[in-house]
C-alpha cells in the first residue's frame, strides 16, 4: 500500500509539473488581461500538432520541436486574441471568455479538418521504465519533467530580469500605475498572449509526447488546467505551479482511494471547494 502511495505521488508530481506549463500560460493571460482564456485547451492541441509536425516531418530534435510548438502556438494565440477576443473587450470578461471558448472550438475543428481524427505518435522510440525496487519511472516522463522545469525557469527569468517581463508584472500588479509609468499596454498584452499561448502549446506537446496527438489533446487538459489555476489563485504565477502539482497528485491518489471512474471528479471538487471556501485560491490576492 505504501509503495502504491509513493508511486502515485511520483507520478502525480511529474504529471502536475507538466500540467503547470499550460496552467502558467492560462494564469498569466488572466493576470494581465483579466479574463480566462478558454482557448488554452485548443492552443495546447495546436502546440502538440506543431511539435509533432516538427519532429516527424522536419526531423527536429525534442528541444527544437518544443521551440516550434511555442512559436506556432504563440501565433495562434495572438490570432485568437486579435480576431475573436479583442473586438469584445468592451463587453467585459465574460464575453471575452465566451469568445475564447468559441475560438478554441474553431481551432480544434480546423486541426481536425486538416489532420483528421487519427492518432499520431512522435518519431521516438518507446522506452521501458527505469525501476528502483518497487518504483518505476519512465525516461520519457523524466525528460518531460526536465523540459517542463526548464520552461518554467526560463519564464521566471524572463519575468524577473527582462524589461518586458517586468512590464508584464507591473501591469498585472497595478494596471493604472503601470500605464502612468509609460508601459505600453498594447505591447504588454500582445507579449503576454504570445507567451501564455506558447506555454500552453509546450504543455500540449509534452502531454502529446507521453500519450498521443489527436484533436482532443487539449480538451482532456482544460478542466485540470482551470482547476490548477483556480486552486493556486487565478493570476498568481507561483500559485499556478503549486495548484498544478496539487491537482496532479490528487488525481493520481484519487485512483487509489476511489473507483477510477471518479477520477475526473477531482478537478470539479477542487474548483467547487476553492470557490466556496477560499475564492482567492492558495496564493491569489486579486481574485474575488
Amino acid at each position: 500500500m505504501i509503495e502504491a502511495l509513493l508511486q502515485a505521488l511520483i507520478n502525480g508530481v511529474i504529471a502536475g509539473t507538466i500540467l503547470a506549463v499550460p496552467a502558467l500560460g492560462f494564469t498569466a493571460i488572466f493576470a494581465v488581461l483579466n479574463y480566462p482564456n478558454f482557448a488554452i485547451g485548443a492552443l495546447a492541441t495546436v502546440g502538440a500538432y506543431a511539435g509533432w509536425a516538427g519532429n516527424t516531418a522536419l526531423g527536429l530534435p525534442m528541444v527544437a520541436a518544443l521551440a516550434l510548438a511555442f512559436a506556432a502556438t504563440a501565433v495562434a494565440g495572438l490570432a485568437v486574441q486579435w480576431v475573436a477576443v479583442k473586438p469584445l473587450e468592451s463587453a467585459g470578461a465574460l464575453m471575452m471568455a465566451i469568445a475564447s471558448l468559441a475560438a478554441g472550438l474553431v481551432l480544434e475543428n480546423a486541426l481536425r479538418f486538416t489532420f483528421g481524427n487519427d492518432l499520431r505518435g512522435y518519431d521516438l522510440p518507446l522506452l521501458r521504465d527505469w525501476r528502483f525496487g518497487e518504483f518505476r519511472v519512465g525516461p520519457q516522463q523524466v525528460q518531460n519533467f526536465a523540459l517542463a522545469l526548464a520552461a518554467m525557469a526560463l519564464l521566471w527569468a524572463f519575468l524577473r530580469y527582462s524589461r518586458t517581463g517586468r512590464a508584464m508584472r507591473a501591469v498585472a500588479d497595478n494596471r493604472d500605475l503601470a500605464l502612468l509609468r509609460g508601459v505600453d499596454p498594447v505591447r504588454v498584452a500582445a507579449v503576454t498572449v504570445a507567451v501564455g499561448a506558447g506555454l500552453a502549446g509546450m504543455g500540449g506537446m509534452l502531454i502529446g509526447l507521453d500519450t498521443s496527438v489527436d484533436p482532443l489533446v487539449g480538451n482532456r487538459l482544460i478542466l485540470s488546467i482551470f482547476a490548477a489555476a483556480v486552486l493556486g489563485g487565478l493570476g498568481s504565477i507561483p500559485g499556478a505551479v503549486a495548484g498544478a502539482i496539487a491537482i496532479g497528485v490528487a488525481e493520481e491518489l484519487a485512483v487509489l482511494a476511489f473507483n477510477p471512474a471518479y477520477r475526473l471528479v477531482v478537478g470539479f471538487v477542487v474548483i467547487l471547494a476553492v470557490l466556496t471556501l477560499r475564492p482567492a485560491g492558495l496564493f491569489g490576492a486579486r481574485a474575488s
Binding site: L126, R128, R136, T211, V255, A261, R263
Partner: protein, 403 residues
C-alpha cells in the same frame, strides 16, 4: 423559348393529366443511410454507405420493392451522438425516410433509437451495447442489430482465454455501455466456467494518462488483460503498459486493436495482442456478391470491412421484408423481417431470388453476407468471431470461435 406563364400553367395541367398510376410509380420508398463517415468510425463508414447504395441499386434493377424504387438519403454521424441526432432528425423530418440503416457505435445508436421509435420507423444498426436489445431503447421492437452484442463479444473473449490457457484475467473497461458490456460479458462467461475473476477497472474516457488505472490492474499480476475499449484510450494504455515492461497478454475488440493502433504504436508494442472481431459469412453466396460490390466501390476486399457486409444485408433484408409484407407500413414490414431472415425456408442469398420465391408463395430464409442472419427475440444476431494475432504489425487470423 422563354418561360411564359401560359407555358407553366400548361405544363402543370399536363402533369395533372398524366394517369395516377404513372405518378404512383415515381413515388419511392425512402431510407436513410446514417453512417460514421468521419470520427472514430471513419475507417468503416464510407464503405458502409456505399454498400447500402450498391445493394439498393441491385434491388431497384430487380424491379424495386412492391413496384417502388428505394431511394437512399445519405448522412454522416461523425461518430458522435449529437451530430447523429441532428442527422437523424433531418432524415426523419425533412427527407421523411421510413427506415434508418447503418448506425455505428453504441453511443450513436442509443441516441438515435428514441427518434426512430418516436417516428415509428425501423433502425438497423451495428452497435454492441446490450441495452439496445431491450426497453426502453428497443421498446417497440423496431431495432435490429446486425453485429454481435458486447455481451457475446465478452463470451467469445472467455472462450479465447480458455483456449489460450490464461488463468488470471483482469479486465479494463471504458465507462460506457459498450465497454462495460464487453467486460461484463467476459466476467459472467468466465465465472460460469468455474473460474475466478481478477481485478476489474472501469476508467473514464478522455484522460491524458491511464497510468494509475493500469498500475492498479498490473499490481494484481494478471496473465491477460481483457479490454472493453476504444482506439484513443487503448493507444495510451498500451503505450504506458509497454513502458512498465510488465509481461502480460491482451485481448482487445478489433474496433480498438486495428491497423491504426499498430500505426500509432509500432509493431514492437503491439506484438502478440489478440484482436477479436465478428467475421463475415465468408463461405456464403451473399458474401461473394457483396465482396464483388465492395471491390468495385472501394477497391479493397470485402473482408476488410465487416460492417459494410452488415449494411449490405440491412438493405437486402429490409427489401425482402417489404416484398413479404406486400405493404409499406412499418408494422407489417417489421412483422415480416424474421419471416424472411430466419429458418425454416428456402435459403436465398440475393434480393432477386428472394423476391421470385416470395412471389411463388414460398417461405424464404435470407442467408447474409455478414452472418447467417437469424434474429432472436431481441432483434440480435449471433455471428462467429475471428481471433487475430498481431504479429510484426500484421493481423493474422489464427482461428474462429463460435458461441
Amino acid at each position: 423559348m422563354s418561360l411564359t406563364r401560359r407555358l407553366v400553367l400548361g405544363a402543370a395541367a399536363g402533369t395533372l393529366a398524366v394517369p395516377y398510376v404513372v405518378r404512383a410509380q415515381a413515388e419511392t420508398f425512402r431510407i436513410g443511410a446514417l453512417n460514421p463517415i468521419t470520427g472514430a468510425g471513419s475507417p468503416y463508414g464510407t464503405g458502409m454507405q456505399r454498400m447500402i447504395q450498391a445493394a439498393v441499386e441491385a434491388i431497384n434493377s430487380a424491379g424495386g420493392v412492391n413496384g417502388r424504387r428505394i431511394e437512399v438519403f445519405a448522412e454522416d454521424t461523425q461518430t458522435s451522438p449529437q451530430a447523429a441526432v441532428l442527422a437523424a432528425k433531418k432524415l426523419i423530418e425533412v427527407n421523411r425516410v421510413r427506415a434508418i440503416l447503418g448506425t455505428w457505435s453504441s453511443g450513436v445508436s442509443l441516441a438515435v433509437i428514441p427518434l426512430t421509435n418516436e417516428a415509428d420507423i425501423l433502425l438497423m444498426h451495428t452497435s454492441g451495447a446490450p441495452a439496445l436489445s431491450t426497453p426502453p431503447a428497443n421498446a417497440k421492437n423496431l431495432g435490429y442489430r446486425y453485429q454481435a452484442t458486447n455481451d457475446r463479444f465478452g463470451r467469445a473473449f472467455a472462450e479465447i482465454a480458455v483456449r489460450e490457457g490464461f488463468r488470471r484475467p483482469a479486465t479494463m473497461a471504458f465507462n460506457n455501455a459498450s465497454g462495460i458490456g464487453n467486460t461484463d460479458g467476459f466476467r459472467r462467461a468466465w465465472a460460469a466456467k468455474g473460474n475466478q475473476n481478477g481485478e476489474h477497472v472501469v476508467y473514464e474516457p478522455n484522460q491524458p494518462s491511464y497510468r494509475a488505472e493500469l498500475l492498479r490492474v498490473l499490481s494484481t499480476r494478471p496473465d491477460v488483460i481483457v479490454m472493453g475499449s476504444f482506439l484513443p484510450d487503448t493507444t495510451i494504455i498500451l503505450r504506458e503498459w509497454f513502458q512498465t515492461g510488465t509481461p502480460v497478454k491482451w485481448i482487445i475488440p478489433a474496433w480498438a486493436a486495428n491497423p491504426q493502433l499498430v500505426q500509432a504504436l509500432g509493431p514492437a508494442v503491439t506484438n502478440g495482442i489478440i484482436a477479436v472481431d465478428s467475421v463475415s459469412n465468408e463461405g456464403a453466396e451473399a458474401f461473394t456478391a457483396y465482396d464483388a460490390a465492395y471491390r468495385r466501390a472501394m477497391n479493397q476486399p470485402g473482408a476488410s470491412n465487416v460492417y459494410a457486409a452488415m449494411t449490405w444485408d440491412m438493405a437486402n433484408t429490409l427489401a425482402l421484408a417489404i416484398e413479404q409484407a406486400k405493404s409499406f407500413e412499418t408494422a407489417a414490414i417489421n412483422a415480416a423481417i424474421r419471416r424472411v431472415a430466419n429458418p425454416p425456408g428456402e435459403a436465398v442469398s440475393a434480393f432477386a431470388a428472394g423476391k421470385a420465391a416470395i412471389a411463388a408463395g414460398r417461405k424464404i430464409n435470407y442467408e447474409g453476407a455478414s452472418s447467417v442472419l437469424d434474429f432472436d427475440e431481441f432483434g440480435d444476431v449471433t455471428p462467429d468471431f475471428g481471433v487475430f494475432f498481431i504479429e510484426n504489425g500484421q493481423f493474422n487470423r489464427r482461428y474462429v470461435v463460435k458461441i
